[in-house]
Symmetry: C2
Subunit: 100 residues, 2 copies
Amino acid sequence: MAKLIALYKKPEDQIAFDKHYNEVHVPITEKIPGLREIKVTKFSVTPMGKEAPYYLMCEMFYDSQEDLKNGLRSAEGKASGKDLMSFAGDLVTLMIGEED
Amino acid sequence: MAKLIALYKKPEDQIAFDKHYNEVHVPITEKIPGLREIKVTKFSVTPMGKEAPYYLMCEMFYDSQEDLKNGLRSAEGKASGKDLMSFAGDLVTLMIGEED
């Protein structure tokens, strides 16, 4: 299965980040054609008890790499990307992957 | 659901890494008590077409944070950690998280 992964570093204002993420960014992103599922993981610590280097991970699942590319190129995909850059451009790392 | 995430940077020798990962590390890790599932994602590029900053992600699922901690503390968990450090100590980032 094709996956787009977004890894976010810890925002300075976590409350504002969470609010925008949940109330604005996820609803925009959910409209992307071909997107099958969104899974969100929140990180806490490393196994050694240190603060995790990332705050949150979002996994976005598509049936194929082609669907993922088409989703990102769509108007809805571009709207999601534009919103992302507006509130987390300096925090996010995006990667395309394939889950075994 | 509780998750342990391992993010690996790109190894110099991918063939040797994949061989050790699949033939040695995963079988050791699968023995950890309480571990429900392992999901492996291989990364390719960023949406902008650049090389992804990580090579591989392993997600290890447990029923609870308590189970995850007990798994890591177990003899099998320690054996997995020792093996990990032997072949990928300089490549791996480990984080504990909770999937919504």
